[in-house]
Amino acid sequence: MGLSHALRPPTGHARWVKRAAFVRDIPTHPLGRELYEHVRNNTAVFDLLREVTLDGLFYRDLTHPEHEWSDDRLWQLLGYSDADGGRYSSRQALLFPEDRLRAHAELQRCNADPERTYDCVLRYQHRDRSTVWVRCRGLVLRDAQGQPVRLLGTHVDFSELQRTREELQRVNRELELRVNDRTRELGETLTRMAESELAHQRTRTRELRQLIEGLPLLVWTTQPDGACDYLSPQWVAYTGIPESEQLGSGWLHQIHPEDRQRVTLAWQSALASVQPFDTEYRIRRHDGVYRWFQTRAVPLPAPEGVSAKWLGSSSDIHERKHLEETLRQRTAALERSNADLEEFAYLASHDLQEPLRTVASYVQLLERQYGSKLDARAHEYIAYAAAGARRMRRLVTDLLDYSRAVATPGELQEADGTAALDNALQSVAALVSETRARVVRAALPRLAIDEASLTRVLQNLLSNALNYRAEVVPQIVVSCQIDGPSAVIAVADNGIGIAPQHQRRIFQMFQRLHSSHDRPGTGVGLALCKRLIERADGQIWLESEVGRGTTFYVRLPLVAATREVRT
C-alpha cells in the first residue's frame, strides 16, 4: 500500500479534514518541504515512519465497521505472525472487554467533535495470555458532508512502561506494607515496654509507699503551689483527723498556734524560691498534746518548665527538743548558781575580813597593852584566839583567790613552765631549807595557761609535798613528759601518802585530811589547783600509796599545739 494513496482522501467518499492539531502547514524550510514532497510521492517514507516510530497501524471503514486493515507490526506486537492475523474480528476480540467499550466511547466522542484526536490506552491479550498495553491514537476522516467515514489508528506499546509502573506500584505497596508492619511492630514493642515500665513503676511506687508508710515519719506531698495532696497514714493516725479534711491547707490547723505564722512564712518562702524547707514546729496529736517535729521538704525533680511538686517528711524530735530545753535550763541554772557561788564567795570572804580584822587587831592590842599584866593562862587564851584569827585569815584569802579564779575567755594564755617552777620553788624556799628537803627538777615547756595560775598550782603542790612529809628527809621530783599536744607534769614526793578512799575528796573545797595542829592548810589549795587547771582545759589527778608517797599529775596543753589548733 503506497503512501500517496494512504494520505489521499478517499475519492467520492471521504475527504481529508485539515486539523490544526494534527496536520500542519507545509514547512517553510526547504528540507522540510522536500520531506513533505517525499511523503506525498514516496511510500517508503511512510513505511519507514510506520516501522520505526509506531507499533502498529490500523485503518477502519466507519461506514462498514467490520472492514479494517491492520499492519504486520500490530499483529507482531500481539504475538501473531503475519499469517495468523489479518482479520478484523481478531483485533477487536483480543481487546479487554471493558477497553473495547472505552474505545467505542472514545470513537463516539471523536465522531461528535471534529477537533478531537482519538486517544485512549487499551489492553490486548497477547497470544501468550500476557497483557499488552497500548496507547492508541488516531484520526477520524470525514466525507464531503462531514460524516465520519474512516478511522486511522496508531499503536504505541508501553507495556514495558506499564510493567515498570506496576512494579513500582507493587514495590511501593510492598514498602508501604513493610513500613506499616514495622510501625505496628514498633508500636507494639513500645506499648509492651511502656506497659512493663508502668508495671515496674507501679511496683516501685507500691514498694516506696510501703516503705514510706512504715517509717516513723509523717510523710506528705504537695502541689507546686503548696496545696497538700497526700498525707501518709502516720500523719492521719498521729493527728486523728481524716486525710480528706487536711488536704490543701487543712494540715495547717494542726500546727501549734504560736508556730503557725512562722511556719506559713517559711513554707511560702521555700515555695517561692523552690529551695528546701527545714523547720521545727509543734504538731497537735489526736489527744490534743503538741509534740515537736522537724519537717524537711524538697522540691521533686521536674522537667524544664514544669513546676515541682514537693515531698515532705516530719520526724518527731520532741524528746530531743525536751532534752535540749532541759539541758539549756540546767546549764543556765548551773551557770547562775556558779556565778552566784562566786559572787557569794567573793562577798563572804570580803565581808569576813572586817570582823576578822577587828578580832585579830584587838587580840594583838590586848597582848600589846596588857601583856605584862596577864598570867600564863590568859596568854594561852590569847595565843589560841590569835591562831584562830590567823587561820581564818588564810581561809578568807584562799576563798578570795578561789572566787577570783574565773575564766577570762578569748585570751590566749601562755606560761613559761620553767619560770613558773622557779617562782613556786622560791616561795617555798624557807620550808625547803627548814625541812632539808631534796628537790630534783626538770625543765618545763611553754604551756597554755596563765603563768600566775601555773605558779600557784606548782606552789600548792610543792608545799603539800613538804607539809605532808613523812619521818624521812623529804624528796621531791618534778618531771615532765610530752604527750602529743599536751604535757604532763609530775610532782612526786616520798611523804605520808593518801589513802585511796580520800583521794577523790582532797580536790573538794575545805576538805582536809589532817587537823590544823598537825599540818597547816585550809583545804582550799587543791580545790583551787583543780579549778585553775580545768579552767585551762587541763587535768589534775594523783597516784598515792600510804607510807610511800604521792605523785600529783598535771596535764596541760602545749602552747605550740594550741596555736596550731586555733589558727
Binding site: Q364, L365, R368
Partner: protein, 136 residues
Amino acid sequence: MTGPARRLLCVEDNLGDLRLLQEALEILQLPHQLEHVGDGEAALTYLREAQAGKHLWPDAVLLDLNLPRKSGSEVLAELGADPRLRQLRVIVLTTAARERELLVGPQHMTVHFLIKPLDFDDFLGVVETIDHLIRS
C-alpha cells in the same frame, strides 16, 4: 612624833575600827582630834553644817567605803560635785581586796586610797601615813 594637831572627820560605822584608830593615834602619840559620824548621810550633813559655820572645818576626812545609808563612793561623788567641798582632803580607808571597786575619786578632787590591813602592827604604819598626808 608630835606636831601640830589636825582636825579629822572620821566617817566609820564600825566603832571597833574607830577605837582602833584612836588607840593607834595614842600609841603613836599623835595629837590629832577626831570627829566621828556613823554613815555617809551624816558625813554630808556634818560637812554642809561646817560650811555654814556650825562645826569647825576639818583638815581631812577619813572615809570608809562600806557605809550604811549612803556609801563612801556616793559621798565622794557628792563632795566632788561641790566647788567648796571638793577642796577637802579625803583619805579613803578600805578593806583589802576591794579591787572590784574603782579606786578613783571624782574629777578636780584629790583622794588618797589606803588599805586597812589585817594586822594591827601594819595598821600602825597606815596611821603614820595618814599623819604624813594631813601634815603636808
